[in-house]
């Protein structure tokens, strides 16, 4: 069974928020839209976004780590947002495992947003329905798009290629390989939600210096010695030998 998902590589995410607004612009004018904004030019602007980036600090100076952390619906294999929905608007597709909201059935009761431990669900204050990442289901099957562009908008936009897209149930897919090779992990596995999106952790590259690398026969300083020296004064063995 196919399970489409995103991999977020925290090793290269620089927190630029390209994924945040490219998702917004794609989806607000698409079948998942519109995505409204309240107080767009006033105090405390707030709007519907499917993907948000938060930045965390870990540890204490000078050993602080800064982590940029994008998060959108993780398209769980056991999505808690589905069974709680009173109208059946919240559903998971058999075809590819994408979790969606049927806006025509949704009554905006928000039960799903209480059930989701990841905060992936938002109500759109003006359309009065619950909204979330659709994994750009309207792009990935669209044959009018070039094949290379049949991907979520966020994946295409990401300048560091920190977002990868594929089938985590296909052992040969790029995403599955990355999860295996790089220790890809799920968020809050203790909730039993089996999120399909995985995160790749940080990897640090170090250089080891060997002491003898600092002392070399080909040291350029050797070339700064004059090639010939003046004769020395005083007694030398050569002058004083008896044979």
């Amino acid at each position: 069974m196919t399970q489409l998902a995103l991999i977020i590589d925290l090793n290269v995410c620089v927190g630029c928020s390209a994924c945040v607004t490219s998702c917004k612009e794609w989806n607000t004018s698409g079948p998942a839209g519109f995505m409204s904004d309240d107080n767009p030019y006033q105090k405390d602007p707030t709007g519907t976004f499917f993907n948000r980036v938060q930045t965390y600090e870990v540890g204490e100076f000078p050993k602080t780590e800064t982590v940029h952390f994008p998060k959108s619906c993780l398209h769980c294999e056991e999505p808690p947002c589905v069974p709680v929905c009173p109208t059946g608007a919240s559903y998971k597709r058999e075809l590819d495992g994408i979790v969606l909201v049927d806006y025509d059935k949704c009554i905006g009761c928000k039960y799903c947003s209480w059930a989701c431990p990841y905060g992936a669900r938002e109500i759109d204050e003006h359309q009065k329905v619950m909204k979330k990442c659709t994994l750009c289901v309207d792009r990935i099957y669209d044959e009018t798009l070039p094949e290379a562009e049949r991907k979520p908008a966020c994946v295409l936009a990401c300048p560091t290629n920190a977002r990868l897209f594929g089938d985590v149930h296909d052992a040969d897919s790029e995403v599955s390989e990355l999860i295996r090779d790089q220790g890809g992990y799920q968020l809050m596995p203790e909730w039993g939600t089996q999120p399909s999106n995985h995160y790749l952790p940080r990897r640090k590259n170090k250089i080891t210096i060997h002491k003898d690398e600092l002392v070399r026969v080909d040291n350029p300083l050797n070339k700064e010695q004059k090639e010939h020296h003046k004769p020395v004064d005083g007694s030398v063995l050569d002058d004083n030998s008896f044979i």
Binding site: Q42, P45, I207, N222, E224
Partner: protein
């Protein structure tokens, strides 16, 4: 549970679709974008997958272009300040463009006919310096500044005067092959998307990223090692590393000897007027018009005597002291470098920078060992300028990247000289895995443009007798009046800032207000928020713009502001010219300005209109063409006096730097049929050809021309043939800068010719050190650092560019207000908590703002995002918007002039070499604010909405095709 679906999540809404490729302008990166319209509104902006710069990616700003295009902050009508209204009160009436042009034509014609320097043109972060600079030159005013002096001219000048190129769009790190990248003083940057793409691949390939920065944000988050450093002390680090590399022999001798002036012998006779200059051979028949006669001398190791530089078979000593046949004591440049860094031990640097001495030494070892032992050998044959054929190109895979954290200090020029020397002794210039130039660089040291040298260069009704901005090579190139003072309003190219290659926009208003060096009449400000974040001493500058003399006239009589949006500066205009957005116009990203070249060859690009202009917006370029034509400036006028160009696109197609030169704004598809590039006759179909080609022209240099270009005969000849440069001679790296020494000798009174006024001698002598040296910042030296112990900085966030994006409904949901980020120890010390209101105070002023604790900042530094804070009502935001009520501007704490000191009463707060604005030198203290504090300070009178602006909606539901019909009240 699955449902029987009614709502179809895959079906695209109906509508007529149109797609066009153009170039983004949400920042100065200039990514290629593909814009999809649905029912004539913008539906989607994506990175153009076929564009060489960004290859399909796009950042947060680029992806939010829709909200820029449809922002209620747009100006749509020309406006004139109402009769009797006070400047700054936003009392405007609509006028026609005809009237606006008549007003400007009359005023500017009068100025041009009487005293052209009374007109000053200041442009901000536009990308039109090719046009605005050329226009100003034609008009005949010396008072043209683009943003560089305000921004990072130190980065340009410090490196250009050393290696003939610099970072950003002039060159950069070759991350495809580097193994170690050291990134210093870099937050977001305007070559941002390509850097992001390359950084990711670099890290995934096992590259090691070290970030040197007082703050760990943005890119530094993914660094393998973060090295916190005290602001303004980076040169201490570079010089200590250089010292360690020399002491351990980890420098690339083979590279330095041939490709730099390291072996060249310097006159060490203090009594000589040539002290500190290279000794040179007399040459018979010196080549006429030669840039570098290459008649400096080496001391040959094999024959133990002085020979001409680069003599075949000779090998210079880089160290030692020698005596020339005529008795002159000499030392090689490298020996002088070694001596000058002797005092810069790692222990000394630890005290200055806060970085442990062992770390400094380890960094030096990592750099040196990777450079030496992980060499790359590319099988590319090339011929050097001395006729030697090489079978391969060597690379030492240590790369660097640096930005404003180094530049925006008064010691920034020498710091960047220090970095350039470090990069050079590691042997990484224009080599794989190191630093690589981008066309039109490398250029000669220094590049050829020069300003006029005296007041005779400014004459009524005459183009300027030189370029408006340039690169002085000696005191004779300065732009001085009869009293040895500045001709320019901003005092650029004077003894106060001799190498001010980009001008000093940050002082223009203050100088004009004070009438020092003289009063002006008209200031035209384009895309520069001078009454806000593009000024220091913002409150003072706003007062100066409003200040009147004893006759009741404004001290700066006439202000014209051209902008697309309702910025803080617009309120102060006497005449407002509404500019188009980037989706509504033609633009050129030109080789004559800052193109988007790749390492392997020149690239330039254009913008074409995707949607029609809103209201009566007119592209500023067309405004200049119209004005230039009305004023009959030579570039815009035929010999018979008739108008030469209808509009900007026609100008771009047909303009040549000189009649018949074949060099114009755009390099691609020149020649009658578009068959030539770089140089060729105007092609009437040039714009069409760009449009068909993703709006971009790219040329790939032959592989043998792509590296070692400073000394690559094939490349240099190609560059000369294609008119990038005049010369095809080698551009030897200046480890030792003889150019700086000329200025120093003048200050010491040893050099005949122009010399600085006595009160500036000591300053010029100290700072025009031919070798990089460490000094504390000027402001730091004049501050009571017991009282103001902290450094305060700003950084650019990745989701906003300058003050450009608060009118953007989506981007402001990422940054609606800024905090002052401080280490928690400051809270402990001064009794405030995370999220409390605090005062931040310098000797110049104070602000009240919200504190945010952070462990990702070195404890002696506090920082905020730049330009997120706004003035009340600006950008068509409501009066209670977070930007003005919680956000704040650090600029209020920074002065554009230093306190009185022995150099003068009103010396610019800038680098004494280049006039670079010293934004990050300011020292501050913090303390808790009142318990009932609930908004930031200072506050300003609310800016009124202007005629022609649309109303703010209370909510948006953007759906392209329905936006202007839908929406709420």
């Amino acid at each position: 549970m699955t449902s029987s679906v009614i709502h179809d999540a895959t079906k695209q809404p109906a509508g007529s679709i149109e797609t066009k490729n153009t170039t983004c302008y949400m920042c100065a990166c200039r990514c290629g974008i593909r814009v999809t319209l649905r029912d004539n509104e913008v539906r989607y902006i994506q990175g153009n997958p076929e564009h060489p710069l960004n290859k399909g990616v796009i950042c947060a700003k680029g992806a939010s272009g829709i909200m820029k295009q449809y922002s209620p902050a747009r100006l749509t009508k020309p406006l004139k300040r109402k009769e009797g209204a006070m400047r700054g009160d936003s009392e405007f009436e609509e006028i026609s463009w005809d009237e606006a042009f008549d007003i400007m034509e009359e005023r500017l014609a009068h100025i041009r006919a009487t005293d052209p320097k009374k007109f000053t043109l200041l442009t901000g972060r536009d990308q039109m310096q090719a046009l605005t600079g050329m226009w100003s030159k034609n008009y005949g005013t010396p008072n043209y500044s683009a943003h560089g002096g305000l921004c990072s001219v130190n980065m340009a000048a410090g490196m250009i005067y050393s290696i003939g190129g610099s970072f950003w769009e002039f060159g950069g790190p070759d991350l495809e092959r580097a193994k170690l990248l050291v990134m210093i003083g870099t937050a977001e940057d305007h070559h941002s998307n390509p850097l992001k793409m390359e950084l990711s691949k670099f890290k995934r390939n096992g590259g090691r990223l070290i970030s040197v920065n007082p703050v760990r944000s943005g890119y530094s988050a993914i660094a393998d090692e973060w090295i916190p450093i005290k602001p303004g002390t980076d040169n201490a680090l570079f010089l200590a590393i250089t010292r360690e590399l020399i002491e351990t022999g980890l420098y690339d001798r083979e590279f330095l000897k041939d490709y730099s002036n390291s072996g060249q012998l310097v006159n060490c006779d203090e009594s000589s007027e040539h002290h500190g200059m290279f000794v040179r051979m007399d040459i018979n028949d010196p080549e006429e018009g030669c840039f570098d006669h290459q008649n400096q001398m080496w001391w040959d190791r094999h024959t133990n005597k002085a020979v001409r530089t680069h003599t075949e078979g000779a090998d210079p000593f880089l160290m030692g002291e020698f005596t020339m046949p005529d008795g002159t004591p000499v030392k090689p440049s490298f020996q002088l470098l070694k001596e000058s860094v002797e005092e810069y031990t790692a222990e000394w640097a630890e005290d200055v920078t806060g970085i442990p001495a062992d770390t400094i030494r380890r960094l030096a070892h990592e750099m040196g060992i990777v450079a030496r032992d992980e060499k790359i050998e590319l099988p590319i044959a090339w011929t050097d300028t001395w006729g030697r054929e090489h079978q391969s190109v060597t690379g030492n895979p240590v790369a660097f990247h640096a930005m404003r954290g180094l530049a925006a200090h008064s010691n920034g020029f020498q710091t960047i000289r220090g970095l350039s020397v470090l990069m050079s002794i590691l042997g990484t210039i224009d080599r794989p895995g190191g630093f690589r130039h981008k066309a039109p660089f490398p250029r000669p040291i220094p590049p050829c443009p020069k300003t006029p040298t005296g007041p005779e260069g400014v004459k009524p009704n005459t183009p300027l007798g030189g370029m408006p901005l340039g690169f002085p090579a000696s005191p004779e190139d300065l732009f001085l009046d009869e009293k040895n003072g500045p001709v320019r309003l901003d005092k650029g190219f004077s003894w106060e800032f001799p190498l001010s290659a980009h001008g000093l926009m940050q002082n223009a208003i203050t100088n004009a207000w004070r009438g020092d060096p003289y009063k002006i009449d008209t200031m035209l400000i384009f895309m520069a928020n001078m009454a806000w974040n593009s000024s220091m001493n913002t409150t003072g500058v706003r007062d100066m713009l409003r200040d009147k003399d004893e006759n009741g006239e404004y001290k700066i009589p006439f202000l014209i502001v051209a902008d697309a949006f309702h910025s803080e500066t617009v309120a102060f205009a006497d005449l407002v010219l509404p500019d188009t957005t980037y989706l509504e116009r033609h633009d050129t990203i030109s080789m004559l300005d800052r193109p988007i070249s790749e390492y392997d060859g020149p690239v330039d690009s254009v913008r074409i209109p995707v949607v029609p202009p809103k209201g009566e917006c007119k592209p500023f370029q067309d405004v200049l063409i119209e004005l230039g034509s009305r004023l009959k400036l030579p570039a815009f006028t035929n010999a018979d006096g008739s108008r030469k160009f209808k509009n900007y696109p026609e100008f771009v197609t047909n303009f040549e730097t000189e009649p018949g030169s074949g060099i114009g704004f755009l390099a691609g598809w020149r020649g009658k049929g578009g068959e030539k590039f770089m140089k060729g006759e105007p092609n009437p179909k040039q714009w069409e050809m760009y449009e068909k080609n993703n709006c971009v022209f790219q040329y790939h240099l032959p592989v043998s021309f792509q590296y070692m270009r400073n000394w690559n005969q094939g490349y240099l000849t190609w560059a000369q043939e294609h008119r990038l440069t005049r010369y095809d001679e080698p551009i030897n790296i200046h480890i030792y800068s003889e150019i700086l020494q000329k200025f120093r000798l003048a200050a010491q009174g040893k050099r005949p010719g122009r010399q600085p006024p006595d009160h500036l001698r000591a300053r010029v002598e100290e700072h025009f050190n031919p070798l990089p040296f460490y000094s504390e910042t000027l402001e730091g030296q004049l501050t009571d650092t017991q009282k103001y112990p902290l450094n305060a900085l700003t950084q650019r966030p990745m989701a906003m560019y300058h003050s450009w994006d608060s009118q953007n409904a989506w981007l402001r949901q990422i940054h609606a207000h800024n905090y002052m980020h401080v280490h928690p120890s400051l809270g402990d010390k001064h009794g405030f908590k995370d999220g409390d209101w605090i005062y931040v105070e310098s000797m110049h002023g104070k602000v009240r703002c919200l504190a945010r604790f952070s462990e990702a900042v070195e404890p002696g530094t506090i920082w905020t995002w730049n330009a997120v804070g706004k003035a009340k009502g600006a950008w068509n935001l409501s009066d209670d918007a977070n930007e003005s009520q919680q956000g704040f501007l650090l600029n209020h704490l920074i002065a554009e002039e230093l306190p009185k000191n022995e150099c003068g009463d009103h010396i610019s707060n800038s680098d004494p070499v280049t006039g670079q604005a010293a934004w990050y030198d300011v020292r501050v203290r913090v303390y808790k604010a009142e318990d009932d504090a609930d908004h930031s300070l200072p506050q300003f009178e609310s800016m009124k909405v202007l005629p022609g602006m649309s109303t703010r909606r209370k909510w948006l539901g953007y759906f392209s095709g329905k936006f202007d019909k839908k929406g709420s009240k």
